[in-house]
């Protein structure tokens, strides 16, 4: 890890396995184009468990290949995408899903963009309101100020 450069940290971890051209190898591809397309889509959302941050579709680790073959086996048998995902989650846990499922533990994760946006917008609006109120609105005189003005005017007249 420390031997590789920051920007290539990810790449560094790849150098371990034997490299093939891409990840999906020609002998894995299914004859049925629709099934294959589903397989690719599924694979892109599944994490290679032994890699840094890659989907099994991108990885050339042997484990990723096994999972790609597994996904295709299940597709051939007629499993739905949902069923395959559930099966893999039962086996490997949520860790395998690159898109974390929405549940109690991930509520803050999925909610974060919206919360930041709303809180930020609210802060800006509140700030603008306060500023406008301070700077633009004609201010009513306070009682003390009114009394002072009155006395000053009276003094001038007398």
């Amino acid at each position: 890890m420390k031997a590789s450069l920051r920007a290539l940290l990810l790449l560094g971890s790849l150098a371990l396995g034997p490299v093939t051209a891409g990840a999906v190898e020609p002998d894995e591809i299914l004859g049925d184009a629709t099934l294959e397309a589903r397989a690719r889509d599924l694979s892109a959302h599944l994490r290679c468990m032994v890699c840094q941050n890659e989907s099994i579709d991108d990885s050339h680790a042997p484990l990723a290949r096994d999972l790609r073959l597994l996904v295709r086996e299940r597709l051939k048998v007629g499993d739905s995408d949902e069923a395959i995902r559930d099966y893999l989650v039962r086996r490997y846990g949520d860790f395998i899903l690159l898109k974390p499922p929405l549940k109690a533990e991930t509520l803050a994760l999925w909610g974060a963009p919206l919360i930041v946006l709303i809180v930020g917008a609210a802060a800006i609006i509140a700030n603008m309101r306060r500023r406008d109120a301070n700077a633009l609105a004609p201010k009513e005189l306070s009682e003390a100020e009114a009394a002072k003005l009155k006395s000053a005017l009276e003094r001038d007249h007398s």
Binding site: L5, G22, P26, P100, L136
Partner: protein, 660 residues
Amino acid sequence: MIVETGHYALVLALALALVNSVLPIWGSLAGDRRLMAVAPPVAIMSFLLIGYSYFALTYAHVTSDFSLLNVVENSHSAKPLIYKISGVWGNHEGSMLLWVLVLALFGAAVAMFSASMPEDLRANTLAVQSWISAAFVLFILLTSNPFARLGAPPAEGNDLNPLLQDPGLAIHPPLLYLGYVGLSITYSFAAAALICGRIDAVFARFVRPWTLAAWICLTLGIAMGSYWAYYTLGWGGFWFWDPVENASLMPWLAATALLHCTSVMEKREALKIWTIFLAILAFSLSLLGTFLVRSGVLTSVHAFATDPMRGVFILLILVLFIGGSLVLFAARAGGLKQGGLFAPISREGAIVVNNLILSTCCATVFVGTLYPLALEAVTGEKISVGAPFFNLTFVPLFVPLFILMPVGQMLAWKRGDLLGVAQRLIYAFGAGLLMAAALAAIHGGPAVSFLLGGLAAYVIVGAFTDIGRRLLGAGASPAAILRRLSGLPRQALGTAFAHAGIGVTLLGLAASGWGVEKITTLRPGDTLDVGPFQLTLRDLAKREGPNYSEIFATTVIRSGGVVAAVVEPSLRSYPTRRSNRTEAGIATLSLGQVYISIGGLEPDGKVDARIFWKPLVSLIWGGALIMAFGGALSLSDMRLRVGVGRRARKPAAPQAAPAE
């Protein structure tokens, strides 16, 4: 011997950094000009010392001095010279040395080019910069010494990771560091401004060029890294939402927001508090990135726990600098008066929305990157946050930002006329619709591709609408247009180019939906169609490189029977590290690219190949180049530089009077 003097120079640099951490600030507090005057020469000397130290390490690498642990671990006598030089920063210790070198470079640059700055602001800026220097030089000396010798030197080194033996390594990290670490100077400016209590348009005018310079480098560095990954990894991806990439994206988002803010603060004295906060935030995110990458915490929380020395040290630096600056910020920001009023619909208002969205993007990347670590640390549960999460959250955030961009560019300061702007953008809207329709007709679905393509056209045309109107307005003749062009402020031109650049990148990204991918096995003589091209594998052969051997596939790309390009994708194996890397064969044809990467040779003389046609893909990086060009135009704006010199002296004089 040279190595030892390099080590010694680094120790001296630490001593100087400590001197510069104290004396200038003391001088500014005590009003002693002699103490403040210490800062610039010491900053320059520190840079020279760290530069020498860096040279010494490079010397050891170039001469293959295998008595040095760092050289043994990362070099090989047969390694080409360019990788001996760039290999210096291709490892932890060397890259940290480059880190402090860039830090010192920016300190020295401020010392040399900011003579017109108010004295106390400059002294404090250099002092804060020296604190950062001292912390990181100490980090290197205590935990990551690149000059460690070996008792029994081996005859040969372990070679550099093959993935790093690429021209990309020579360009990408220095650029990235210039950007990443360059943001330190905006941080130092902000901290100094808080210490001096000098937060005004003068501050904005000084901080803006430095932010811009760092932003240009960061933009180019990220784009370069993305292209490097694209052609080295062999599956045609260019952005992986990897934590390491996210670590560089967060400072970029913050720096982009900061750039927009400083222009408001400079011209209208508004948004002061927020600008200062962003200046602190941008570099804090750089520090966070350094921590994430350098501590090993990304691999897993446990890897961090087993060798915690480096991680804990950087964490301490992180807490100290982020915490310290925020405390300073909290203490001073309350006393700041917001200047420059503006209506919600105005240039300022648009920039506020821009900042809101960019900050939300930044927060999203932050949460997405750190959430799995936090969750594992707290509950032990492991989850993954990958590309699907970021794509899903980023697109809805960025689309409104793109829609807003040309509008904001054309709104007037203080109070804008939204309807008038919409009318003037009619050509941009038209271009967007036309583009979307044309793309849909030519390429068809997916819908998101042609819709984003249309958005890109709107952004590009919108970026130049204002300038176009100024040039082609009433009484336009060729001579008048030329005269008007030379009269245009370069900053406005820069903005237009930068905005158009991101539009160009968007067009490249949108086009990825029309890509063609073929995964197949080829035998010499085989031909196949990929998109509009016909590919023929002409030959498979082997050859020897300096420290590797490779199989390469000579492939001819034809378009309608005419040879368009010949490429040689290859698979290299490096015996010393017993590892491989793919070298993609890439031909750029009318802004798109044919991309071929090959796998191992099979016994029957066939080869696995992955072939793509990626229409318009070169625009992704081309757009980044245009953005950087826009930044450079803006940086070269004379008003900016002249203005700095002229206005700096004015407030300096009356300042002294009320202070007594």
